[in-house]
């Protein structure tokens, strides 16, 4: 089943970074929820695999209002974090999947099986998270927006953000836990009183909604403005038309909830 492949099990973050190198030809397996179905079905035949199970990259810490989440922290470890991150994590899969699936995998996911993946991309965009990662050119720490564009070539080490003053997460209900989220909107009010909004499911990966942010004082018009920030797509879960109808509603609800949450 596995075929001929080098399988490395680094025991420290340094060993993981060294094993990853520039990432060329490397398959990274953390929780396995994204990669293992591909391997099981024979669609992916890795030549060099890094298992991060023991790399020492898990753990959630909070220091002076700054939250730092290790790359291999399971999503179940995030569900009690403040909105939007906690409720977003709780909305992924089911308890077994959340026990296995990791933050790093969620950030690196996307454009698979014709459905949007990577729910936390939206929530972490909303709180202005930064990603520390390794790969070609060495270690970098950059805003999540920048990271997402080249996420396939990086090894996530951790993600950090300042706890927002208030947060909100709204999502279309899933018909079943096995479904990916069709569309979700995260909102956060930061310490400088600015409001950030981001969506998951309105494009290939999580996107910020700057036009909606600019109109954040008026949830109704912010909802309409959000359509200027996205290019919704058809996939197995929903049509672009449907997403366009729903996005303004979710933006309005997220902003209303944000106002209610302080």
């Amino acid at each position: 089943m596995a075929g001929m492949t080098d399988v490395l099990l680094p025991e420290t973050p340094e060993e993981a970074v060294s094993a990853y190198g520039d990432g060329a030809g490397v398959t990274v397996v953390a929780g396995g929820t994204i990669v293992m179905p591909e391997i099981n079905a024979g669609r992916l035949r890795p030549t060099k695999t890094i298992l991060l199970a023991r790399a020492g990259l898990a753990g959630v810490s909070r220091e002076e209002g700054k939250v730092t989440i290790g790359a291999t922290s399971p999503l179940e470890a995030l569900v009690d974090l403040a909105a939007p991150v906690g409720p977003c994590a709780a909305n992924v899969g089911d308890i077994e999947i959340r026990t296995q699936a990791t933050l790093g995998g969620n950030l690196c996911a996307g454009e698979g099986l014709g459905a949007p993946r990577g729910d936390l991309q939206g929530a972490l965009l909303a709180v202005g998270a930064h990603v520390r990662s390794a790969g070609a050119g060495g270690e970098t720490t950059e805003p999540l927006e920048d990271f997402l564009a080249h996420r396939r070539d990086r090894l996530v080490l951790d993600v950090s953000y300042d706890d927002p003053e208030a947060g909100a997460f709204v999502s279309l209900d899933r018909p079943h836990t096995h479904e990916y989220t069709v569309l979700a909107v995260s909102a956060a009010r930061l310490a400088d009183d600015s409001v950030r909004l981001a969506a998951t499911g309105a494009g290939s990966w999580g996107v910020r909604l700057p036009s909606a942010e600019a109109a954040a004082d008026d949830p109704e018009s912010a909802g309409a403005a959000a359509l200027r920030d996205v290019s919704p797509h058809d996939d197995a879960l929903a049509s672009a038309w449907y997403r366009s109808q729903v996005l303004p509603v979710l933006v309005r609800r997220a902003l209303t909830q944000l106002q209610e949450n302080g």
């Binding site: 089943m1 596995a2 492949t5 399988v7 099990l9 397996v29 929780g31 396995g32 929820t33 293992m36 179905p37 391997i39 099981n40 079905a41 890795p46 695999t49 298992l51 199970a53 899969g93 089911d94 308890i95 077994e96 999947i97 026990t99 296995q100 079943h176 836990t177 096995h178």
Partner: protein, 153 residues
Amino acid sequence: MKLTVNGRAHEVESAPLTPLLAVLREELTITSPKAGCQQGGCGACTVLVDGKPVRSCLLPVAAVDGSEVTTLEGLGTPERLAPVQAAFYEQYGSQCGFCTPGVLMATHALLERTPRPSRDEIEAALAGHVCRCTGYVKILASVEAAANNGSAS
């Protein structure tokens, strides 16, 4: 690689990326975990690894080298059913039985962390388990019965 399954130590020779499910079923002939969808979506392969419910089809065995695995075979025997097994038996919580091992392991884990779960907590804990026979009503009743039996004993 080493695995302790239901209290018994095993040396494992499968390739490192072999899913734990295949190691259990094909190398160790422990067959209660079922190969359903094999992509994490049906719950039939659910086992406990170090006490937590996980999908064994999604776990490369090398990632759990040295871990303690519990399958349904480790909960009870036909002569001495575990409380969750007895409750499902008494409440007709199983029909064809294919999903039952996974449902029982998830239920066992739920009752370990929440001995008296609410209906919502039960539904959340079993949300990832597909059953095509029972319509779920008798499964939910079985879990509630198991919780009540547990508190009475």
